[in-house]
């Protein structure tokens, strides 16, 4: 059994004596006898060697696919080696929240640099230090838009199910009314949106690209929203930012998204990274930590957590959000990734995602599948087949390939990233071709 308690039994007994206690039981004198449990009904502790074996055995029970054609919120992108080298530095891993600025300049500066990068990517004025993930970021963004007169959140049916479910739960808490904007041919129905907007609408929430991989007309949605006095919340696929018209250019007031593509492995869903950026006038409504630049008495540039009076530890029940931690180490991961990739490398990766997805789509159509929607897609797309989706995916799995996500009995949502080689894409198409015969 390990316990990471340095002091030996005899040291502990001496310390008890010095502190004025006969034994450990006396330390718990305030606890009613009836409440003390005898022993936990769990196994005894193990040595490090045994723990390692156990954890390795658990990991070995998983099937780890190395050729992945599935996205839907978690993306298999290339992670440069420098990322892991930096994020495993003890000073970053074992540090607490940088409340004591004088000894935390490294952490604070990194967050400041990360905030700058998110602003550059989204084109918006202010970014926070991150929130838990993309889905909860959308929920927090919707809450930012509510005020006394506007309490309705319009959310497109083309936003991914995870974000919609999360926004719905947060609205259950806040009392904000959630109304769905219908979809039409795989995109948000803009006519329906126009009809739903009113002077009670706080915000319109869209995903870009949407849950089917299709590129939305965000400009149009922003125009409609603003004409009705509402705000536009745009959630983006991180890897679309280097290529597509920025959220700022489209007229978004708040941009959020899932930062996992920027250096975080798939990890069965977490930890991930929710990024948030907004226009300057919404700055004080942003939840979570924000790092600002200032100076010390000697004139040295210094970074601090700022605008803290927004947050829970000061405002308590009047805070806009209860959020206390961010995903600091994940924000560091993203910053290192973005620095390593650089603007050219990032654009190149994004272009490869788009090109490979379109190549796969062409080859799958030639193999006998059909695209479900006609609108242009980014790097994910939906196919329909006569044969059941399960059969196609099973054949691929036999070859160690994780195919697209089955959306229904015959529909599959495929995804390509820069990691999918032409040879692998060809193998997928050839396998599908065999299976549809």
């Amino acid at each position: 059994m390990g316990s990471y308690i340095p002091n030996t039994g005899s040291e502990q007994r001496e310390m008890l004596r010095e502190a004025g206690y006969a034994d450990f039981r006396e330390l718990y004198a305030d606890v009613p006898e009836s409440m003390l449990i005898g022993a936990l009904d769990i196994p005894s502790g193990l040595s490090e060697f045994e723990v390692r074996s156990r954890m390795e055995a658990l990991a070995a029970k998983n099937v780890r696919f190395t050729r992945i054609f599935r996205g839907a919120g978690a993306y298999d992108h290339f992670i440069p080696a420098i990322v892991g080298s930096v994020t495993s530095k003890e000073e970053f891993v074992t540090a607490y929240t940088p409340y004591q600025a004088e000894i935390s300049q490294g952490i604070l500066q990194n967050i400041f640099e990360y905030q700058t990068m998110i602003c550059e990517l989204t084109g918006l004025d202010v970014a926070n230090a991150s929130v838990y993930d993309g889905a909860s970021a959308m929920a927090e963004a919707a809450a930012m838009c509510a005020d006394r007169k506007r309490g309705v959140c319009l959310i497109s049916a083309c936003v991914d199910p995870q974000s919609r479910s999360t926004v719905a739960s947060y609205c259950f808490g806040s009392g904000m009314e959630l109304v769905e904007v219908p979809e039409k041919d795989g995109r948000t129905d803009m006519d329906a949106l126009a009809a739903l907007l009113s002077d009670k609408t706080a915000c319109v929430c869209l995903k870009q690209p949407n849950r089917y991989g299709i590129i939305e007309d965000v400009d149009r949605a922003a125009q409609l929203a603003h004409a009705a006095g509402a705000k536009l919340v745009e959630s983006v696929y991180a890897m679309s930012l280097p290529l597509l018209r920025t959220p700022a250019e489209c007229g978004a007031d708040i941009c959020v998204g899932e930062g996992q593509p920027f250096g975080m492995p798939l990890s069965f869903g977490g930890p991930y990274l929710g990024f948030m950026a907004c226009r300057a006038e919404l700055m004080r409504r942003l939840p979570g930590r924000i790092v600002g630049e200032t100076h010390d008495a000697a004139g040295e540039r210094a970074f601090v957590l700022t605008l803290q009076a927004r947050e829970q530890h000061i405002r308590r029940e009047k805070a806009g959000s209860n959020i206390c931690s961010n995903e600091a180490l994940c924000a560091l991961t993203a910053a290192v990734y973005l620095s390593a990739m650089g603007p050219e490398g990032l654009k190149n990766a994004a272009c490869q995602c788009v090109s490979k997805a379109h190549y796969l789509a062409d080859r799958l159509c030639a193999a006998g599948l059909k695209l479900q929607y006609g609108a242009e897609f980014f790097n994910e797309f939906v196919t329909v087949s006569d044969v059941p989706a399960d059969r196609l995916l099973a054949r691929l799995a036999e070859k160690g390939i994780l195919g697209g996500l089955p959306l229904g009995e015959h529909e599959i949502l495929w995804c390509c990233t820069e990691k999918n080689s032409r040879a692998d894409i060809d193998e997928v198409a050839d396998t599908v071709k065999e299976a549809v015969k």
Binding site: I42, P43, E102, L266, G270, Y272, S325, G342
Partner: protein
Amino acid sequence: MKLIFEKSVPGRSLSLLPACDVPAYTLSAPVRGSAPRLPEMSETDISRHYTQLAGRAHGVNDGFYPLGSCTMKYNPKINEAAAALPGFTGIHPLQPEETAQGSLQVLGDTARLLCEITGMDAMSLQPAAGAHGEFTGLLLIKAYHRDRGDTKRTKIIVPDSAHGTNPASAAMAGFTIVNVPSGPDGCVDLDRLRAAVGEDTAGLMLTNPNTVGLFDRNILEITKIVHEAGGLCYYDGANLNAVMGIVRPGDMGFDVMHLNLHKTFSTPHGGGGPGSGPVGCKAFLRDFLPSPTVKEENGRFSFAYPAKSIGSVRAFYGNFLVVVRALAYILTLGREGIPAAAGNAVLNANYMMKKLSPYYDMAYDRTCMHEFVMTLERTKKEYGVTAMDIAKSLLDHGIHPPTMYFPLIVHEALMIEPTETESRETLDEAVSVFVGIMEEAKRNAEKLHMSPLTTPIGRPDEVAAARSPVLKYAF
């Protein structure tokens, strides 16, 4: 130190990806006007930049970190090794269940172990942090009352000593907050509690030991008062390190609770996250848990979808790699190790408190749990030296300051939580540093006002930062 953007040189780059091996596809959708100004650097310079930043950070691996209510215990390296296994990092959350049995078992086993440790019947590992867990737990309470058709219950009772996330979470969940003052002993004032409960009480949020580090002896009476009024009891698990394996929140009368894996269960703080805030509940609330949970049948693990689930509070299943670390920790400590850790956390705190008592005023003169609160109110009056001054002086000695100015019910508070992973000599050294600073306070208050003197920067101008916020680099 320069910002990374100030080290950027146009044209520099790494060689990370091969050329595209398929025909290039050009989107017809509108593209961005100009490229983002991300750094253009060589790998050498990136690596050095982050090494420099690391040199200006301070983790629990660098030294004693007695932050009250944060449980800065040692972060075991075997946990990191487990979390880095490709068999865990490379698994897509939407893989078929048969191919993710290992990950599902990590979630299932951890939930089961945490239930046993806490006395709860069901657990969701979905929330990403303690505050996230609080919000989730409060939604469970809200859903429970709504399901019973009881819409009058709109109030959550919170002691004035509570952590700020408690009332903030309750407000986010749509409740109004009733603050109940603590008695002079720092514990819940039973009479005030009785006066505060009623037909509009949805629940009570409490932590025990409380935020001043004391075990509330009346806990069974407290939860009984709330239950009799028809409310539920929520346990803030932030202070579980004092009692894990010794007492269980489920036995104290709590119905729902959250845990902080990044406190009690040794997962690292990462400079502010990622953490993990699992939510546990008694059987009668399990149908409301966030979806999906994990179930086991004859050794096979799969997702379950609670019948009246509140939905989800994030995408997917939780901060999975953080849960992996916590599982490795629980397996290491096991049946005997968990209560031993709690016992030594309490011993170390009382040991430090005893040794500091001749020099510092303790807020409460009784046995503490895993943390204790000192008050610098008298030192402020007599010498003009505040809790802030003491804290900043500690930085010059390489010790991270304790928690300052919390809880609010103690003036000029410093809250110290040594944790069980500190050796006797580390505690003795820390005590002598504290004693030295107090002597300095009496002789030379001015020096303390100017501290820290040996850190990379001195006290930053926070007023300027807040009045004219500069939140990104100006290119």
